[in-house]
Symmetry: C2
């Protein structure tokens, strides 16, 4: 294997690591954005920091449960869906043997393989039901077996990252005495954190770090500005 060439084991390790990074980035950037924006909005409507902190903490715990538990249950549903599709596929290769063979040939026909090769592949694949079903799940339906442990980890990572991210903008209101000062310091630290997060996220995923920093920050600023405007309008 030549240097710098990705091999399978390397690719998989890379994916697992980047899954965790992605979860943390998703949770933390939403946590930085939404409680920050909520607090900014309330700053235009109330005169004491206590209510902003209370609302912020309520949002953080609610958002963390919605993202974490919601994500976990969605992952469980995905597993059930996969399992039911596997059962259906086993049934189909029995009941609709010829149709399944044709569907399998069609996959390769799409890539320009000769009819002879198509036949040969299907003949060999269909010798082993398990491998055939595996193959059709992945290459006909595009479904990979979801991992329950992965779903659990992912839910925990996203939920915790949301809490950590959400605490950041609120700290400014804890250490200042008026919403105006709170908003000022909250904006400074949150924008700094969003830019840093966007920067490193893009470094990890191989995108332009400057662009990543910019995008993550813009979402936060837009959300805060919109929340500020709405709250001022309705208060």
């Amino acid at each position: 294997m030549q240097p710098h060439h990705h091999d399978h084991s390397h690719t998989e390790a890379h994916f697992e690591q980047s899954d965790t990074v992605r979860d943390i980035v998703i949770g933390m950037s939403d946590g930085l954005t939404v409680p920050f924006a909520l607090a900014a909005g309330l700053s235009s409507a109330v005169t004491n920091n206590g209510i902003i902190i209370t609302a912020g903490l309520a949002e953080i715990i609610a958002g963390s449960i919605a993202m974490g538990l919601g994500g976990f249950l969605a992952g469980k549903t995905e597993i059930e869906h996969y399992d039911s599709e596997v059962k259906r596929e086993y049934r189909e290769i029995k009941e609709f043997y010829e149709v399944e063979r044709k569907e399998c040939r069609d996959i390769f026909a799409e890539y320009g393989l000769s009819h002879e090769s198509q036949e040969k592949i299907v003949d060999e694949l269909s010798k082993n039901d398990d491998k055939w079903v595996d193959f059709m799940m992945k290459f006909e339906l595009g479904l990979e077996k979801p991992d329950i442990n992965r779903a659990r980890q992912s839910a925990r990572n996203i939920g915790l990252a949301y809490i950590v991210g959400g605490i950041v903008p609120l700290t400014a209101y804890m250490f200042t005495s008026t919403p105006v000062n709170g908003l000022m310091f909250s904006s400074i630290i949150t924008i700094a954190c969003l830019a840093t997060l966007g920067y490193f996220k893009s470094k990890v995923t191989g995108q332009s770090p400057g662009k990543g920093a910019f995008q993550t920050t813009v979402i936060g600023v837009l959300a805060a500005a919109a929340a500020f405007g709405i709250a001022r309008l309705f208060s």
Copy 2:
């Protein structure tokens, strides 16, 4: 084609439709959950509905931007990632021709195909660079070309569904005069909506509707209870 057997065109139509349904369910269930929980939390801490409505609206607009715009930019990043992987794959089939051939054979070796078939498939595939790269993107890396229009639609659907979902629990505070009454009516209508949403979501995805209704409702109730507890603790 036998009746009741899924064919490709049917499967794809089904996927597109369920993508939209999934987006709306994701946005609406989060919209029902988080603003509902935030309002419930604030009900334990404030004495007038105005501040709850203001906070709720600020949260809705912030959450909608974070989910919608955030989702859209994530989709765009995914497309850039796909495009850069395509370029890399074109480079690799030139520079590491034999390695790529081996990787391609390995895909089929995993499913028990004979060495002879592996060779034959790779010989035919490698005749056309475009088809070969297409094939390796999907079958080696498991990447499908993401659709920018789909990302845009998805962002809009999720963002709007979040707003629609979020307005529901707040209406109760608009038509009552105290937080206690607001919370009572808000809980009734939100739980009814969450259960209905969970029920139909599960019907569409082929899961047990009762279980779906139960799970969606439990997330909302847990989030609201946690927010209520936190807000009471810190106010």
